[in-house]
Symmetry: C2
């Protein structure tokens, strides 16, 4: 029986999970592949040791991996866009297949890596980089390869989904919930990448590239996070039958593509609305397959390691004819704010003076932004207005909003949240 040696770069939560699964599921992997897939080397910084790891497997110099003919697959779990890029490149050029969970690298340097992989006839697989254990990349790249995907909605960041779920359940404010999430290990000490939407944007770039067959990088994905979200808006949403999620939204609009990340309200009965806690889900729409949703754990050492194992098995099991890692064979233009149509929720804090509402509605009317509903909650001299609009271009709404913000009766910065998922209000 042929043996396939695995080199692990990094032995943190995911790496040790991969090591454990390679041991525990050795027999399953042998049955599934007909090969003996085993841990051959672990690249780790000098000075680190791990109780579950044979020290004889640990090396500190990547050159030992490049030159080892026993190593068929390099699993990069270092993360980041620095040394990880060099190691992946060197591995691919040395004829090793690469499996990785590195979303930022894929989202920023994926094109260069895929090109080298294709040129060398080796695999570059990255299921674990998006939505942990959920096999969304495989499904999009293989099962839906020929389907014209119309839209991809994703809850692709577990930390922010945990935060928004907790805010919705408890009515607590963002800062308190974030603190609690950090205490429980659902948010990192520095949560910037998660709460600003950058993590979600990287994943959406990878997903949209696979779904639309066009190269989309992190820089192409405008992203807002959850930092400004208030319990007030979560509550108003509930009153409207809406659930707040941080959504990645990728759409084809008349042949142009838009990929964005923003907090969005969904109808409470939308399949994505019930995805709570640290779970992820991706919702795909198409004329050919209707709608498909994939749900599962978005992170965690064990589930992410499971996705890495799935990729390892795919690599071992499959030699593709007409081999091609890169499925971005189209070059789609990006939609502008004049192309993208959104439904907006707006909360305004206004001075309750005569004619205030009339002035507001006049501005919206002049900018062709049509109001669907208004709720007013007075509080003495001031009032809170919660407005939902009919679908309108991003550009038109931005123009109206700029004018509204400059009106003297508008007291604070308005809260703006998009509404997705076919809200019929």
């Amino acid at each position: 029986m042929e043996r396939v040696g695995i080199a692990l770069l990094g032995y943190g939560t995911v790496g040790s999970g991969v090591g454990a699964l390679l041991r525990e599921e050795a027999e399953e992997i042998r049955l599934a592949t007909g090969r003996d897939v085993y841990l051959r080397r672990v690249l780790e910084l000098p000075g680190y040791s791990h109780p579950d790891l044979d020290p004889a497997l640990v090396i500190h110099d990547f050159a030992e991996i490049e030159g080892d003919p026993e190593i068929g697959i390099v699993v990069e779990l270092i993360g980041g866009v620095g040394v990880a890029f060099d190691f992946q490149m060197r591995a691919l050029k040395a004829g090793k297949h690469v499996v990785t969970a590195n979303k930022q690298l894929l989202a920023q340097q994926g094109a260069a890596l895929l090109e080298v992989a294709d040129a060398g006839g080796v695999h570059l697989r990255f299921e674990a980089s998006v939505c942990g254990a959920i096999p969304v990349i495989k499904v999009v790249r293989e099962s839906l390869a020929a389907a014209e995907v119309a839209s991809i909605f994703g809850i692709v960041n577990g930390t922010t989904n945990y935060i928004l779920s907790a805010m919705s359940q408890t009515g607590a404010q963002y800062d308190d919930v974030l603190k609690q999430a950090q205490d429980l290990g659902y948010a990192e000490a520095d949560p910037t990448e998660d709460v600003t939407g950058k993590d979600a944007a990287a994943k959406m770039a990878i997903l949209a590239s696979a779904g639309f067959h066009s190269r989309i990088t992190l820089a192409d994905v405008p992203h807002e996070g959850v930092v400004g979200i208030t319990a007030t808006d979560v509550e108003h949403g509930k009153d409207l039958g809406l659930t707040l999620k941080l959504l990645g939204v990728a759409k084809l609009i008349h042949g142009k593509v838009t990929v964005r990340v923003y907090p969005a309200f969904l109808p409470a009965d939308h399949p994505l609305a019930s995805v709570s806690g640290a779970y992820n889900a991706v919702f795909l729409e198409s004329d050919s397959f209707d709608r498909i949703m994939l749900f599962g754990p978005g992170a965690g050492g064990r589930p992410t390691a499971s996705a890495v194992i799935g990729d390892i098995i795919s690599v071992v099991n499959t030699v593709q004819t007409g081999f091609r890692n890169c499925t971005c064979y189209k070059t789609l233009a990006f939609a502008s704010d004049d192309d993208v149509i959104s439904t907006f929720y707006l909360r305004l804090h206004v001075a309750d003076r005569p004619g205030a509402l009339a002035r507001l509605t006049t501005v919206f009317g002049e900018e062709q932004v049509s109001i669907r509903s208004v709720r007013q909650a007075g509080r003495g001299e001031e009032a809170e207005l919660v407005m939902v609009f009919h679908p309108v271009t991003e550009a038109a709404f931005a123009r109206a909003l700029a004018r509204i913000e400059s009106l003297p009766e508008v007291l604070d910065k308005p809260a703006v949240i998009r509404v997705e998922g076919g809200y019929e209000g």
Copy 2:
């Protein structure tokens, strides 16, 4: 560019959908595979014609397909276990890959077909046989190949899910909703296979075979349908925070397997509970990947055709080394009613005489069946008891139930419904 000819057996809803997608998505398929995949022949009964089909492609003799070297893939959409079996066998023996949506054939004769396919080094793919457009077979066979799947819960029949969703939303009785479903085209004129659970049982046999790597056939899957379901039980479930679904349930219990189909209550916040209408979903649990759910349309010409196209692309794109269609490399024993532990809901119609409840509870106590909750709704001389039990073996509950049914104060046949999904009542 190499060309791959497709032969379609059957040109009904799914077949014409496959034909349409082969035309409309020809360019996408070419980009995804590097080949020119085209409709070469359609086997149809004499006398049938289709406006969207070039009559020159239509043949009536399967031998023309066997002998045609241009045909690489035979797509069997005739259904049933008769001629379809012969055609699949002949195609495989002629060195053609086979793609099919035929669940009954796979569930009953899958082993024989897979053996011939493996021997000939050709693919037998059947994604479209389970859950329409949802790529659950691919995910289970490939992404989760080495994962030890602990359980598979499936809403795998759209007709019954439509019926139960409608009963829940409207409070209507089964017969009325079935009639409506037939009028709307969600149920067939003869709905027997759907409403008895046989359709779901065939799909669960296929799914469980893939998930547990052991051969499970339709005959191994005890199945109950939705025929006896009453609006009363749907309502009582709602009061308990439970949603009624027809579930396929496959579990590994200490190395033994059980696969069953029955109506079951789920907690209303379970991800499967919100799968409504004609949609399907499959929920998988494992120590390694936690929980994954796949959701989508369970039937329909276009979505099912989309799954067929996905399989065609997989076949064209992939040559496996150590080629094996059959992943049932284990032989697991089946769990008995002494191994399977379930939570039961029971509704009894009892004469309201002194000591009746005491006699009931005595029987349950003697059979070690422990009551979690009882609700009584009196109606004059008679009472309705709704009981939920603590988890208990199927065997113990069956013994208790047999004794209960024979008590003189129990007036009608009791309604028994299992409760799944971690109900904490």
